[in-house]
Assembly symmetry: C2
Amino acid sequence: MNLEYEDFMSVLGIDLGGTKVAIAMFSESGELLKKETAALDHRTGSSVAELICDVLKGFLEIEAKDPVRAVGVSVPGISRSKSGTVWAPNIKGWEDYPLLKELQALCGTIPVSIDSDRACYILGELWQGNARGCKDAIYLSVGTGIGAGILINGNILRGSQDIAGCIGWMALDRPFKEKYTSCGCFEYHASGEGIAKVARELLASMPEYSGELRDGDPGNITAADVFNAYEKRDRLAVEVMKQCVEFWGMAVANLISLFNPEKIIFGGGVFGPGVQFISDIQQEANKWAQPISATQVSMEESGAGGNAGVIGAAYLALQSVKNI
Amino acid sequence: MNLEYEDFMSVLGIDLGGTKVAIAMFSESGELLKKETAALDHRTGSSVAELICDVLKGFLEIEAKDPVRAVGVSVPGISRSKSGTVWAPNIKGWEDYPLLKELQALCGTIPVSIDSDRACYILGELWQGNARGCKDAIYLSVGTGIGAGILINGNILRGSQDIAGCIGWMALDRPFKEKYTSCGCFEYHASGEGIAKVARELLASMPEYSGELRDGDPGNITAADVFNAYEKRDRLAVEVMKQCVEFWGMAVANLISLFNPEKIIFGGGVFGPGVQFISDIQQEANKWAQPISATQVSMEESGAGGNAGVIGAAYLALQSVKNI
């Protein structure tokens, strides 16, 4: 295979999710040259790394004018920068998996960098999405769970042990309730999973309700069902989304007051359909946030969309070999 | 005047507060050589700058073996790094005051640096207090108001327009209430002023209460009164402090989940007497925070105490001339 490149180097971005892995090759200027996806098919432990290596090998063997100079990896969890190991709660056996060592063994002299998915999302927006040109921007990722990729003066906020940005644990509704123990207060109320949970709780408290979400087993209600019912102005769905906007607005206000960012970008599966609420979220946030900072931030949906992970991982790679 | 210095340079730290200004000279190694304080005496606008210049002049004229190489200033508000102007809500006429220009005119070739008080507090702890050796640490300042000085990978978090760390605006108690408009939710409930306000509100709702805080005009109740009553286990004071610990714990939890810091340091006038609650705050925070990050943080009272401002301002000066 021989691709025509216009640039002087190419980089690979690997986006590992809970159910699949995507690998993409980009030119230095950001052009997507090739992308492949492989399902994890319930693989666990070292089988997941073997799958990544199999696909990666194919990319490294491409005969190219401008060969791969660096590899970046986005992981759904914690990338421990000191040890090169990964904690990924959705992959069995990845409590402290030596991913860097395994990928580096395959890649030889080509440098491999690993970071958390939330860090890669904001890097993806920085390179090719709606954070282009920003130095202080935040990606709020709302899917099954909630996380934040935080860019400060051009650098990713990683924290002392690489666990920064765990905004799903944000405390927003006193007093503490036991149900927050496994996922955090904000995530409980306002993640994709949370939207479904809150709908189920409300349903149980409204015996007289006979709308959209009454059909079938309440245990099967999903966030998508709630969004669909919302489109028809179902009153339960309207109430769920009203609560959700309140939580999103408070969390965003706290990001504004603490970080004074230029931009907050909404992404993940829920934004998605959630983008219709961005102006409501901004209105709620404006009530709570430091008032000068509130006037200095803009809020947008993701520009990189579903590719934010691979794009960000590739940019992580590019940063490791170029002074950008 | 001729002081004996052991070091090769000295720096000045200026700590401007709402009612007074303190100026201190430090050796490069951090030794306090001389300190003066002057009351603002209700001065406004350029008279405040004149007072600072008067005291500063005295320090600059000291005949020293190791002359002053840099000046740092801590201001109670926003230091706009691009324009060198200062917004200080408690000093009339300082909406956009050109402090850098005025001080630099006096200091000539000696560089002047200005930053917010919350930034200087954590720098003070970094140099000579309980954040020594830290790269990721947070100073939670609780006095009349609330702010946070945030150190990330060794650098101060300033935000896109120098307004980061305004944690007094943190949203912690839904729904939004009009009373939060002027100061923010967290500050309303848990600053020095907030402790007094909450005590007054509770007093009004407890007609049967006849304890410590019933005497005199409720409008005169201060945080100090509440702490005094708490020592005697007055039930109103106990209830106020219980609520306060809950808010402090939630706010600290949010700092842990977002920043994954090594250390959180409690300072300001309220800590002070509030230090007795640090273990309770940690316990409350542990309920809410990202659980791994929660195990990685330690909480301590300020080591620099009332001198955190001048020490931090002097360290700001030192950083401007030395690569530290």
